[in-house]
């Protein structure tokens, strides 16, 4: 890691090589390691480090910017910080900008804003810690004659943003993520834990949960597809909500009319028990005090008691649509729009066991797999269940069942939530970059359309 002072010097140096009207640089430094295991032994054990600079240059050769009708924008990147490379990346970005037609939607890079300081502590997991974490899962699986697979990832990174209008933002962070899928002859079980510090990763609990799920889901039985009540465990809720992150409160898609939330501001869009928050400072997530334009993030509520209150903006869409920037920019050039990265459904008042007891006939789903959008406007998705699915009857888990395919509208599901767990579980993506929180949900109807063979 290079530290704030060094990165600030590099950013200043890079900016000094630009003669453009406005210039922005995003600097990144990363050190990553991942220990992967399968068939009860480590089979891939890797570490890599990299750095990067991305320069966004805005020129006004055609004088549209000064008239408020668009700048010419070019972006270039490289993975070196030496003088020659900094000059080269700036020259390439400038050349690209000079070939551009003015973008009428581009008004200006953002100006400096006060950024809340959060901890920059980072934690490196050693090769031994990661290997031992993997071995904890392997040992427990072998004891039950099961096969362990999984990955222990440690990601350490620095991010800095500077622009010629005076923006400077720096943050360092790290994460440790142990995930496991344990396989039996005809069953599997998933578990994971994520923390900032390797000491806080509970490998024993991951091992115990994954092994237990595998044992409990042995000998799964066929079940007819159709509409069922479901208990979605936190991993499944997170996998369902990933696409809502992209197609829901995203200013670009919202204003294009392609989001299920388009034209619904202030209206009841989900059940009254649904509140959806984006909180980059939540104690259980990995804090991120600013976005990729160096603009401050803050906790905000998108959906309150089912009513749409806010959506996510970056500087481009805020200026284009005359709205306040909410600090949700992604790295430029961004053709996807502003996307919230710390979004979750607020906790409710039920325990997981209470929700199971309330199910007359339904399915307990550990996680979803290969979820894809059929139509973004309606946000109906398809996907499979995976790694332990169970039939619940009259409030009791009866037996494991084979996996099913679902075709389900997410807005409909969020209108049919009848129970929300009273706690949130921190979750990592498989690579550990996007951290989210989720409660277990009880949904009164979920459409399963076909079965698979296991």
């Amino acid at each position: 890691m290079l530290g704030e002072e060094k990165l600030n010097q590099i950013a200043e140096k890079a900016l000094s090589f630009s003669k453009a009207e406005q210039t922005e640089v995003v600097l990144s430094v990363s050190g990553n390691a991942l220990t992967r295991f399968a068939n009860n032994q480590i089979h891939q054990n890797v570490a890599w480090k990299n750095l990067g600079i991305s320069a966004r240059v805005i020129i006004d050769k055609k004088t549209h910017l000064r008239k408020g009708s668009g700048g010419q924008v070019g972006v270039a990147s490289t993975n070196a910080f030496d003088t020659e490379s900094l000059k080269d990346v700036m020259a390439r970005a400038t050349e690209l900008a000079s070939l551009q037609e003015p973008d009428p939607g581009f008004v200006s890079l953002p100006k400096p804003q006060k950024i809340e300081k959060v901890s920059d502590d980072i934690y490196h997991a050693t090769e031994e810690e990661m290997s031992d974490g993997a071995h904890t899962v392997i040992k427990k699986a072998m004891k039950e004659n099961l096969i362990a697979s999984g990955a222990y990832a440690n990601d350490v990174s620095e991010l800095a943003v500077a622009n010629s209008l005076g923006v400077w933002a720096y943050h360092a962070g790290s994460s440790c993520n142990l995930s496991a899928i344990v396989l039996g002859i005809d069953s599997s079980g998933f578990a994971a834990d994520v923390a900032r510090n390797p000491d806080e990763v509970d490998a024993e609990l991951v091992a115990e949960t994954a092994v237990q799920k595998t044992l409990e889901s042995k000998n799964p039985q066929d079940i007819e597809p159709g509409g069922y009540e479901v208990i979605l465990e936190p991993q499944a809720v997170s996998e369902m909500m990933a696409f809502f992150q992209w197609y829901g409160p995203n200013a670009r898609i919202y204003h294009e009319g392609a989001s299920p939330l388009s034209d619904q501001m202030g209206k009841q869009v989900f059940g009254k028990n649904i509140t959806i928050i984006d909180d980059p400072f939540h104690e259980s997530v990995f804090p991120m005090p600013f976005d990729f334009e160096g603009q401050p993030k803050k906790a905000m509520t998108f959906i309150k008691n089912g009513v749409l209150e806010n959506i996510a903006y970056d500087s481009y869409h805020a200026l284009k649509y005359h709205h306040k920037n909410t600090g949700h920019a992604l790295p430029a050039p961004n053709t996807m729009g502003p996307i919230p990265l710390h979004m979750y459904i607020a906790a409710g008042d039920k325990t997981r066991d209470e929700m199971i007891k309330n199910v007359k006939r339904g399915l307990l789903v550990t996680r979803l797999w290969y979820v894809r959008v059929l139509n973004p406007k309606m946000l109906n998705v398809t996907g499979m269940t995976r790694d332990a699915t169970f039939l619940i009857e009259n409030g009791k888990i009866i037996r494991p069942v084979k996996n099913l395919r679902f075709n389900q509208s997410i807005p409909e599901a969020l209108n049919n939530v009848v129970g929300i767990e009273n706690k949130l579980t921190p979750l990592a993506s498989f690579e550990g970059e996007m951290i989210s929180l989720a409660p277990t949900l009880h949904i009164s109807k979920w459409e399963f359309s076909s079965a698979t063979l296991f």
Partner: protein, 508 residues
């Protein structure tokens, strides 16, 4: 601060190979080691509603070392090519080896490989990086504008991308290979909206068009501006089209949809690392277990599937894989019977133990998405061979196939895809479909979907079009592995017919 030794177009192969050899020479005694120095560059242009909203040039240079010692692998990668940086990278790799050894239960074995000293360069007519940027922008803006055929058009988009990978590979068995791989792609995507209704049409394929290991000649041949209006009009027509009916019907898939069907239900299913459980922690396993080799009826007897990294222009075409194994053509399924996997040097050794009938060497499919990623088994070009060329069956034309269908649905261009973690249950949606009645193409249908179980589906294949309608489509967004890798793969296909498929499985 950090030592840089040159970028892409200025890269000197001899210097880079020497650098790789220098790194290799520093690695202490091991069972096997290899080094890859990789210099990647790319340019991307994306237009939206007549504005160039992304104009980007990216470069990345780095290297990795892979050490096999005491029966386990260690892999490290870094951007830092200085002497000190290299020493640290090697030291870290050895520490990783030590940590892996602690809990090992068996030794990694590699199959035999003769050393190779060679160069490979993608044959291209026009280097995309030498075409003036102004010209590329002009082509895309014209294609973007050409989509505005109606006031129902909500979003117009056009995209272009070009990539160059210079790879310098040396290994402890004496191989020394440099490759210069170029691939290019372009396409258009129109969105039409009317109230709650939203429809898309893309040309020539969805998800960034067509992509091939070719130069800018591909972009010129696509004639985006000329073709874009036809597809934009279809997007508008789809807004008021009838919904695809539900039932079990004969289904004809256009070659661009069949490409993704092959990718998901064959390509991933034959990855030997997945079959052996090495991908269980992420993407899952495969139903094509090793006892099925040489005897499992994967498809009907007209189904012939190959992995072929030698097809001119295929997005999965190269000279050598990232273990230094030459590019090859392999039958995966021949006349319907499952014949082979796509393999690597270590997994093929494992297969020799599990199935003594299998005596082949690695068929050369190992690639990494960048210098920072571990090489692993990836699809090359996985193809459904044209009808009438191997075994029984004839080379149909699409017109003949439609004329031969009493009632059916013809679907084109992927819109959604999903498959279970053993590659059995799949569901696809396409952008557009047409009803076939009494041998004639009839009304346009919106929101088409179909679902099936892989072997049942391929066993229902009763007609495949011939080579004149065979296209090698590029799939540049194939995800696999932890840490994640996005790889470029290819799929040759011509339209084919499948009997009694569940169609219209979702209504909206």
């Amino acid at each position: 601060m950090f030592t840089r030794i040159g970028y892409n177009k200025n890269t000197n192969s001899d210097i880079m190979l020497k650098k790789a050899e220098n790194i290799l020479s520093k690695i202490p005694s091991a069972d096997y080691a290899d080094v890859r120095v990789v210099d990647q560059s790319s340019e991307d242009i994306a237009t939206k509603d007549g504005v160039v909203e992304a104009l980007e040039s990216s470069q990345s240079l780095g290297y990795n070392i892979r050490i096999l010692k005491d029966g386990v692998w260690g892999f490290t990668a870094s951007f830092d090519l200085s002497e000190q940086g290299v020493d640290e990278t090697i030291k870290k790799a050895l520490a990783i080896v030590k940590a892996s050894t602690k809990h090992k239960t068996s030794n990694v074995q590699l199959d035999e490989l003769e050393p190779i000293v060679d160069s490979y360069k993608t044959p291209i007519q026009e280097d995309p990086f030498n075409v003036p940027m102004e010209e590329k922008i002009k082509i895309l803006l014209a294609a973007d504008k050409a989509q505005k055929v109606s006031d129902k058009i909500a979003v117009t988009q056009a995209s272009y991308q070009a990539n160059r990978e210079r790879k310098y590979f040396v290994s402890s068995i004496g191989s020394k290979i440099d490759q210069d791989i170029v691939w290019t792609g372009a396409g258009t995507d129109t969105t039409a909206v009317d109230g709650p209704e939203l429809q898309n049409r893309s040309y020539p394929n969805s998800f960034r068009g067509q992509n091939q290991t070719r130069g800018f000649e591909l972009v010129r041949e696509l004639e985006l501006e000329k073709h874009a209006p036809k597809y934009a009009k279809q997007a508008v027509e789809l807004l008021t089209a009838d919904t695809c009916p539900t039932g079990e019907f004969d289904l004809i898939l256009d070659s661009n949809q069949l490409a993704l069907q092959i990718h998901e239900s064959c390509g991933h299913a034959v990855e030997l690392d997945r079959v052996l459980g090495y991908e269980a922690s992420y993407a899952g396993t495969s139903f094509l277990t090793t006892e099925k080799l040489f005897n499992f009826q994967y498809g009907s007897n007209i189904v012939n599937l190959t992995a072929d990294a030698t097809i001119p222009g295929g997005l999965g075409t190269f000279g050598y894989d990232d273990e230094g194994v030459p590019a090859q053509r392999t039958y995966l399924v021949k006349e319907g019977t499952f014949q082979d996997y796509i393999t690597s040097r270590d997994t093929v050794s494992k297969l020799h133990e599990l199935n003594p009938k299998y005596n082949k060497k690695s068929n050369g499919t190992v690639r990494a998405s960048s210098w920072s990623r571990l090489p692993m088994i990836r699809m090359t070009n996985i193809n459904l061979e044209p009808g009438g060329e191997v075994g029984t069956g004839k080379a149909w034309s699409l017109d003949e196939m439609i004329a031969d269908t009493k009632y059916g649905i013809f679907m084109s261009t992927n819109r959604s895809w999903s498959i279970d973690d053993r590659r059995y249950n799949f569901q696809f949606g396409t952008e557009i479909a047409w009803e076939i009645k009494n041998g004639k193409l009839g009304r346009m249908l919106k929101n088409p979907t179909y679902q099936g179980i892989t072997p049942q589906f391929w066993q229902s294949c009763d007609a495949i079009c011939g080579r004149p309608e065979w296209t090698v489509w590029g799939t540049p967004n194939c995800g696999k592995g932890q840490p994640g890798q996005v790889m470029y793969t290819g799929h040759g296909a011509s339209p084919a017919r499948f009997k009694k498929v569940k169609v219209g499985v979702v209504k909206w």
